[in-house]
Structure formats: C-alpha cells, structure tokens
Subunit: 529 residues, 2 copies
C-alpha cells in the first residue's frame, strides 16, 4: 500500500472523473478519497484561466475533458459577495474577504409571513457545484415558500482571502484561518446580516449539508441554535474522530459492500494485493502490471496501482446507488454488483489481475471510451482539505487484517503529524474537534441539549460508520436506509427513486415542517404555505 | 459629564478601594465602573515588582496601601500552569502561554465515584482574588465531594501570552487574542486535558461565575454542553447588548436604588450636577469644588468630579448589600440608605455640595481615615477590559433625562467606535456577541435549546437590568432576590446572611444537586455524597 497523507473525501457532489491529488509519500495509509481538493482546484481551473490553474493537480483520470458537461445548472440564483471577517474570534487587523453566496428568493413568501430560509452549508468546493447537485433543497423551496441560500465555504471556489488562490494558499500563515469554526461563524454573520437587511429577523432558518457540509450543518445547529431552528445533516461523519468509532469502520464498510455482493469477489480483491506486490517485484513486473491495467504511462511503483484500485473501491462504496448516476463517474445502478460480476464471471482460468482489471473498468471506463488510464499525480499540490485534515479534521482510520479486503494498515498518529509538519509546517490538534463540538458520550450530551437535527445515512456509504445512526431524542432523529449510499437524499428527486428513498425524503420533509410549525406556533403567527 | 471610554465593571470581587482608570477624553458617557482593569493591574503590582507595575493606572482612592489586607486567603489550593493554545480557532504558528489555574482535590471523591468538578470561570482579574472571594464554591465542595478549579482568564493575572504583561499588552496585534470565545475554549481545553489525565472523563463539571465570569459560565453551558452539565451564572448581564434591554436600564436601576431610600436624596443628587457645573465655571470655582470635596490635588475639570461621584453611586448600587462588607470599600449594611441619610439629614441650610460630599464620604471614607481624596488617573493606561469593551463587549448605555439621577446621556456608537480606534487601533464589532452567543429572542432560543443554567440576580444590582430574570424553562431558572445586589450569592456564607439569601443559595444547591443526580442516573451510577 502506498502510504501518504490521509485525504478524506467528504465531498459529496463532485466531478465525473475521480481526481486524486497525492501528497509526497510517508508512512500513511492510503487515502480513502481526495476528491474534495480536486474538485475545488479543478473547478477553479474550469472557471477561469487565472494563474491558479497552474497549481492544479494533475488529472489522473481519462474523462477530465468532459467536465463542463457536468454542471447541470437547472437552478437559477443571484450570485452575491459578502465582505466577510477573516478572523471572527480575534481582533487582528486582517483584510476582509469576499464570501460568495448564491441566493434565490423566487419562492420565498417573505418576512411578513415569516417564511423560512434554507441555507446549504457550503463545504470543501465550489458552491455552484453544490448548488447544482443539491436538488432536494431546490425541490423543497416552492413547497415551503422558502428562500434558498448557498454560501460558499471560505478558501474554496471564489471565496478566497487575500485576493486570490495563490495568496490564500501561499503558506501555513495564510491558510491559518481555514477552519470549520470560522466557516460556521461566516454562515452566522452572513445570515444575520442578510436577515437584518431584509427585515426578516423572524424568518426561521433550516440548514442543509452533506458529508463535511453535513457536519457543519449539525455543528451549526448545536453551536448556533439562535441562528437556525434545525438541520438536515446527510452522511455527516461527526463521530469519525479519535476512538469514538472503531478505526476499521470505514474500510470494513467498503469491504462489506463487496462481500454482500459476492464472497468470491471480496476474496479475489483481498488476494490481489499480494499478487500485485509479487508481480511488481519481478523483472519487468511493473511493465507487466502497466500493460495488464492499460496504463497510459509507466508504472513507477506497485503503490501507485494500489492507490488507483483502492480509490475505485472506496468511491464505488460511496456511490453504490440504486439507479444509474454520473455522480463520481458514469455508472450503472448498484455498480459494485457489476464490478463483482466482472471479477467473478470472467472465463475460467482468468488470472486474478485480469479479473481485477475487468472489475475496476466498470468504474473507470463504464462508457468504454477510455483507451488507457493515467495514474499521474502532483506531489506538490496543496489543497484546502489537506490543510483541514492536517489541522483539526484528523479522522483516524485503519484497515483490519481480517475483516477488510484492503491491505492491513494500522493508524499511526505520530507519522501522520510528521507528514503534516513536513507538508504544511503545521501540527494537527487531534482532540480539538471533540473538545469544541463534542462527540464522546454524544448520545447523552446531544440528547439532553441539542434538538431538531436529522442525521440521514445510507448503510452502504462507508462514511455512515462515523455518523449518527440511532435516534438520540424526540427531535434528534436518525434516518437510515439500508440500501442507500453517500447522501443520496440531498439529490433531486428522479423517476428512478426507489420507494425507500422517497419515504426517507418524505420523513425529512415532515420533520422540517414540524420544526417550522413549532417555530411559528411559538411565534404565535399564522403561516399558510 | 466628563465623557470618555465606556468602561464596564463586570468584576464582582475587587479591592477595598475603587480604582478608576480613565482613558483620554472623548464624546463618551461616564463609565459606570472600571474596577476590572484596575483590579488586574493593581494585583499585578501588588504581587510582583516586575516592570509591569510601571504601567499601572494611578490609584485615585486613598486606601490603596491597605490592599494587601484584603486577600482573605482562607482557601487552600495548588497553583498550576497549563500550556495553553493562544488561538484555538486558527492554526497560526503562535507561542503557547502559561494559563494559571488553582486546583483543590481535597474533598473530591474521585473518578470512580464520578464525583463532580466545580469550575469557576475566571474573569477579568487575578484568579487568586476570585478564589479568595468566591466562598460559595469552597463552601459547597465538601458537600458535593467536588474538586475545585479556578482557571485564570487569559491576559489577566499571571496568564500572560508572550511572556509578560508588557508584551501581551503592547498593541492591538498582541491583544488580538483577548476574547471571550478564546477564553471559553481555554476552559474547555484545560478541563478536557485535566479530566483525561485524571481518568475522570465521567466526572460532571459544574460552572460558576459572577458578572463577566457569569456571562462566561452561561455561554459555556450553551456552547460547550458536552464539557459542563450546568452553570450558575450570577449577575451575568448577557442581555446588555445592542437594544435587547433598554439602554437606560443600568442608570435607572442605580437611580431607583437611591429613590427607594429617599426621594429627596435622589433629587439632591440629580440637582447636584448643574450646581457643580455652575460652580466650576466661576472664577476659582474648581478650587472651591476641590476644597468642598476634600481633594488632595487640584481639580482640573468638573468632569473629573462627575466621574468620581458617579462611580461612587454606581458602585454603591452594586454593593448595596444587607450586611456590612468590605467588598469594594468598607461599608455599612445597605450603604445607600446611609448615604441618603447623610444627604437628607444634614443641618437645615446645608448647601447641595456639602450634602453630596457628606453622602459620598460614606462610600469613600466610611472608616474616617482618609484626609483627602485623589482623583488622578492615567490617561495612557491600557487594560484588558478596555480592550474587550472596544472589540466585542460593546454594552450600550444611556442616561435618561427623566428617570435617571445622572446627567442625561445618549449612547453614540459612532463616537464610541472612534474612541476605540484612537485608543487601540481597533474597530468594535457591536453585533458580534449576539451573533455568536444569541440574545435576541433568548427566551425561545434558550428555552428550546439550553438547559441547566441558573441566572441569579439581585434587583438592587444595576447589572440585573441586562440579566435573565425570568424562568425560561424547567431547567433554565432565574433566582431573583428583591433585596440582593451584585452576585452576593457567590460569597461565602456568613452569620449575617438574611433568610432570603440563605434560601437563594439553598435553591441553587438543590438545582445543582438535581443536575448531578440526573447525570448520574443517566450514567447509571451510584453516587452517595
């Protein structure tokens, strides 16, 4: 397993290509994903021809030229910029920065009716991409007579401190203010200002978010209950810190997604790592591997191939959706089933490596258009999520020898921190998130304190392992779907939605309606939607 | 009225002398108090002969040499230092600083019994002084088998970033991290680390605090419910922001404290300002005033006399206690009654100024030992609380023409901000505190979200005007005493305590016991005190 910096994909709406930015090697586990940074950087490149694009990580997947097709911008909004405070918690003489936000008031019934405001907690990427892929919020706006706001997360998309990506990402000192706490305060200040300007102080705010954005939505409801009356936190792994959940959870869920389709598929994958290592060590072995896996260039190390395969498996687990999607890649319904069919049903005598190649081709080349695959990466790329993972978003993960189909890996904080110091000159604070937001004993703490949060999860999603999957109180509700994957509920409704997804969304609507009704009752106001 | 920077006394345990640090003149209202900064600076001087003392504000009261007598250090504790993160919310490469804390585990029944931890939220002064004057916590520790911790607030006492007071208070850049949010995070990090080291993660924490410390205690319970199970927030004016309470509240309460004793007393004081102004404008008028009020030095301006009188009246309202105290000054029980007796009962024909002098002498010279009074101040003093008031602790106050006995004053944010820019090079964020901690619509927000907070107040205390004085829910309780003043409940029990004070404290104990019992029930643990 090629060890390098743990990058976490908390991004839920992303590009058709899986983009991996790989940091310099160290004694680190394979990153489950690193789409987040790729998204922000790639979109920056797509949206501008500014010097930022020079810093883009190399795109290692074959489809990157088709990305422009994947902005299904069916939703209309105004783009605005708010002069945002860079450091809310100190009073240094720092320049403000333009926080971009998207706003649509078309369906909003206005302040006199205390009509609600739906705020999507922008996460680690371009906010227009999130807006384009969070159809659920747009679907709901007319039903609720709601205003829709998508504020962008600082240091992503166009919301750059210090005037540009280059300046914002220059070094640890300029990146210092890229934290979740500052992002939450951004949302709080922005919405407070906006409501004041609209005389809409009495309009209740409901927060939405998926993945890291879901974590922000949940934390925001906990920390700023006066700002928002409730949150839908979809696939939000707020418990993926320290030892709150078993460190093997993530990779075990990925592995189980494969095992549930086929034990032999699981076993073939589990066996393949040793085969790759063994072949790679032979004379011309790397060339043989490159040929087997149709790589466009030379293979420098078996580790690079490990990365490529691992990210396919993990991504497949996230997007193991019940209908065809182009979410991460163009894929069939329940793509893992298809991958395992290829692995299992190859002609008798087909060797392990050929089976694996046929399997992952479902992921990397479902359209059949790719002639070869690039594994290149940019060892010098710096990304927002890398920074966040190296400061406060320290999410320990291991791969268990027995229950995981991945190579065994034991989490090692010491080497993780060392890597962060090397990469950014920063030392992580691995216990800060739980100190600031809680997590240990979350059931009793949230249960007696928090309210009006929906934690939605699909059990196929490896991030569900670090999420809240049980009701904590009457108003902190877990909506779990056995067949769901990574925050499918936030996407627009389609004709292909299975009943359980329709029901999940209906439950969410009912709960949100309840929050608003309760709010209006408290306000003794009449509000007819 | 001499207008200068609004300084707020949120300090509840202070010196026997009233110390005023006056900032350069500007178009600002009279500060109700400025003891806070004086305390920290004075104690720094008393406790060390370091260069810091050179920055001390001039002590304008006659008893400052007796301060050493006023450390009734009856409580034993160990003094420790925690290497604290200077900026919790960003990842700049800043030096840690030694946060001092006092700890006593003598009565603690230990982690195996999940015995509680009582944490006093250190506010704007030396923590040893708070420890010495928060007898209630010490009284309760053996009853609850509790550990007692008094962490010091950053930038006060010995808890100085950058190695020294001089360095920490050098300029706006070094003062930048003196905020309430950072202080709360300090407490959270400290207690989390301490509990981990003691394997006492399961021990519930109860927070205590008075005045600004009470605000911190309340906010900490709201923002860090996973850290503390409940808070006793005594005389905590968390609503004294923006326009949540009428701006005239503070001065009206002071005024009413005098009027309830005697209408003629109130009227004499109300009349006196014009008399002083009029006399001061005459030839040798300032000399005449200086002689009348037994000032040691020359009177430069009537405004200086205004300040001196106003602070006496406001302080008297805070310490209008039912038994003799040496809290701010050595004083009789219900000192306002005594002041008004002197004002009202002077021989017929005594003029207004002589009456006023006799009245305030009860405050400034109850022991009769002062031969003259100093009004000096240090126009260049920088203090922690001044900084806080110029950044986030913007508490608007006016003095109403009709209902206040003070000169009329209308709050003017523009000039307030201008003064802050002149003094510190910093612009306040007057709406930040309510954005971060709430305040508007606090009843519905706290009621549906918060829990386990006691807001205790005495209605004679002018700070009660900005405090929570009604029950908000079953577990957010207001304990209001008609005859109480500034957080009397936090002081040690005495034989002179009136019944209503004994009852107030008993209610507090009962509620805290309820929190702990509920916590232990939740934890399914047996705990016998």
């Amino acid at each position: 397993m090629k060890p390098h910096l743990l990058l976490l994909l908390l991004l839920h709406f992303t590009l058709p290509t899986t983009l991996l930015l790989l940091l310099p090697t160290a004694t680190m586990p394979k990153p489950p994903f690193s789409l987040s940074l790729a998204l922000s950087l790639t979109l920056a490149a797509l949206l501008s021809s500014s010097p930022e694009s020079r810093r883009l990580p190399f795109l290692r997947k074959p489809f990157h030229k088709t990305q422009n097709n994947l902005t299904p911008n069916n939703y209309t909004y105004e783009i605005r910029y708010f002069q945002q405070t860079l450091d809310h918690f100190t009073f240094q003489n720092l320049p403000k920065f333009p926080q971009r936000y998207l706003i649509n008031t078309h369906h909003w019934l206005g302040p006199s009716r205390m009509a609600p405001i739906f705020l999507y907690c922008g996460n680690e990427g371009d906010i227009e991409w999130f807006a384009a892929n969070t159809g659920f919020v747009w679907d709901l706006a007319p039903l609720f007579g709601a205003m829709v706001i998508f504020p962008e997360h600082r240091y992503y998309g166009e919301s750059m401190p210090y005037g540009s990506w280059d300046e914002a990402y220059k070094n640890a000192s300029t990146l210092a203010h890229l934290t979740a706490e500052q992002a939450l305060a951004d949302f709080a200040v922005l919405i407070t200002d906006l409501k004041r300007n609209l005389s809409a102080e009495a309009s209740p705010v409901i927060l939405f978010g998926g993945s890291y954005g879901g974590m922000l939505a949940a934390w925001m409801r906990l920390k700023y209950p006066h700002i928002a009356i409730g949150s839908l936190a979809s696939s939000a792994p707020i418990l993926q810190f320290e030892d709150i959940v078993p460190l093997e959870t993530f990779y075990n869920i990925v592995s189980n997604d494969f095992r549930r389709e086929s034990t032999s598929c699981f076993n073939t994958i589990k066996k393949s790592w040793d085969v790759i290592t063994s072949v790679g060590r032979k004379v011309n072995g790397l060339d043989h591997l490159a040929k087997t896996f149709h790589l466009c260039g030379k293979l420098e190390s078996s580790d690079d191939l490990f990365d490529w395969l691992e990210s396919a498996y993990s991504d497949l687990a996230m997007v193991d959706y019940p209908y065809p999607t182009e979410f991460l890649m163009p894929l069939p319904a329940y793509p893992i089933k298809e991958v395992c069919k290829k692995i299992d049903n190859s002609a008798e005598g087909t060797n392990v490596l050929d089976r694996i190649f046929k399997g992952v081709s479902v992921y990397y080349n479902y359209t059949g258009k790719a002639e070869c695959f690039e594994l290149d990466d940019d060892p010098h790329g710096m990304s927002g999520w890398d920074w966040q993972a190296c400061t406060e978003m320290v999410m320990p993960m291991s791969s268990s020898k027995n229950s995981s189909m991945f190579p065994e890996w034991e989490y090692n904080y010491t080497s993780y921190a060392e890597e962060c110091r090397n990469e950014f000159g920063v030392t992580p604070r691995p216990t800060w998130i739980t100190t600031e937001f809680g997590g240990h004993n979350y059931k009793s703490v949230f249960g007696t304190f928090g309210s009006n949060i929906i934690f939605s999860n699909g059990l196929l999603d490896p991030w569900s392992g670090g999420s809240v999957k049980e009701n904590i109180s009457d108003s902190i509700i877990a909506l779990v779907t056995k067949e769901g994957a990574h925050h499918l509920d936030l996407r627009a409704a389609t004709a292909d939605d299975p009943d359980w997804l329709v029901e999940q969304r209906a439950s969410e609507v009912k709960l949100m309606k309840g929050w608003i009704d309760e709010y209006h009752t408290t306000k003794k106001a009449v509000f007819n939607m």
